[in-house]
Symmetry: C2
Subunit: 269 residues, 2 copies
């Protein structure tokens, strides 16, 4: 099954478009988890147990797993999410030339992480994305307009002809979508750009970060993020660290936060 | 000592501007190394032993180390290169928002990989690079004009006012260089753009890939890649896999290939 079909079924079965971002910052994990062999694996399992009924997908953030133990924890967290039948988007934002891109794309294979989708950067152009795109069962979310202030530095630059760079990326992503597996990453904090991107790429599902800690608008994220009902609105820290400081109760707090945000998003669907 | 000072001393002591790229594709490592606990570590040590006299720097490619064993091999390969007093540029092309960027920047810290410099993507703008830039002892090579065909898709787009996107990145990188630790990645395969980037960023050292397997021009790489004699011309597969198929002799072949390319580059210095 193709990624966006699988995601559509998951959204139907859970009634949720919430993507739960997994950012296991070792400095913020509950104290008692550090007794485990792999604290991030133990943390991930508890977070998945507590939130999966509200999660259309998980989005582990590669940055927080980049060491030997972390990579093992990442592998096993993805497997555990799959055990709960939740698709996984690896937030890696990779983008590189030819043979290196082919190597990065292997992260999607079962012999490696087996993620269902990945975030990628468009700066190196079409051929840098082809190894990801050619894995037709997998989803490829291309960075378009990001949720940070510096997103404007290049992405909002006006091109000759009047189009902005992120608009160009949105249009190109439509061309790159020959196999129906392309989505866009568009931050909820840039509402005008989110609406504009939806106009330019009417058929692409978006992954919309920024509605939690970053303060983006949930209504706009839902209104513009979904294409035919398919898309993801992501929150990470505002869910997984909702119970920070409460030690044993952290997972329960994460579950409650996921449920609240799921409901808030559903008010706008 | 700042990265580019350290690099300058290394270039002086070796008489080489060659950067040896480490792409340990497991499918291409000599058969006998697979008997080792960590084949990529064993491979890296032998390559470093054979090439370090000709190497101004090493550039391990993160893509080829992204699994639990790989991450250990990467840590130890960097440490081994440091044991030979060779600076290490981690080729990671990372670029992400706020707290994720801060996490990725930790790759430069001794508690993590302890790389001396890193390659980053500019697509997310200044604030996404700040955590790297603020590590003032480390070098930050910003992707500008890449060596792949698709590099033109976005990087060559003309902005309103006539400037191309990669030219804008080159100018911005000059602004981002407040602490003297910014360099640019500019491929040798795009010679016109390489020359133009040098005009726009006269003081920034370049990391110039593409002179090996990709067929870029060595003369142009040296002519435009160095700023005050400081910069790096990279070759990866054409050196480290020069002895592919020769099993035990692979390292000797890599050493000979590094020496040849060092000499060829020095003809143009």
């Amino acid at each position: 099954m193709r990624f966006f079909e699988r995601l559509e079924r998951r959204i139907e079965s859970t009634g949720s478009v919430l993507c739960v971002g997994l950012d296991p910052d070792l400095d913020r994990l509950p104290e008692h988890l550090h007794e485990h062999d792999l604290p991030r694996r133990a943390w991930g399992r508890r977070i998945v147990d507590a939130t999966h009924e509200h999660a259309a997908a998980y989005k582990p953030n590669a940055a927080f797993y980049e060491d030997p133990d972390g990579w093992r924890a990442l592998e096993e967290t993805i497997a555990y999410a799959h055990g709960k039948d939740v698709p996984v988007v690896l937030d890696a934002k990779r983008g590189d030339v030819g043979h290196t891109a082919r190597q990065y794309a292997r992260l999607l294979d079962d012999a490696s992480l087996g993620a269902d989708a990945i975030t990628v950067s468009p700066y190196l152009g079409r051929d840098s994305l082809e190894p990801f795109l050619s894995r037709t069962g997998k989803g490829v979310f291309v960075l378009c307009r990001t949720s940070n202030p510096g997103g404007a530095d290049l992405q909002d630059r006006e091109l000759a002809g009047g189009e902005r760079l992120y608009e160009r990326v949105a249009r190109l992503a439509g061309e790159w979508n020959e196999r129906g597996n392309v989505g866009l990453v568009v931050g909820a904090t840039a509402e005008t750009e989110l609406e504009r991107t939806r106009e330019l790429a009417p058929d692409l599902p978006f992954l919309v970060p920024g509605v939690g800690t970053q303060g983006g608008d949930a209504a706009a994220a839902v209104e513009h993020g979904l294409a035919g009902g398919v898309g993801l609105v992501n929150a990470s820290r505002s869910i997984v660290f909702a119970g920070e400081g409460s030690d044993e109760a952290f997972a329960k707090a994460a579950g409650a936060a996921a449920k609240r945000l799921e409901r808030r998003l559903n008010e706008h669907r």
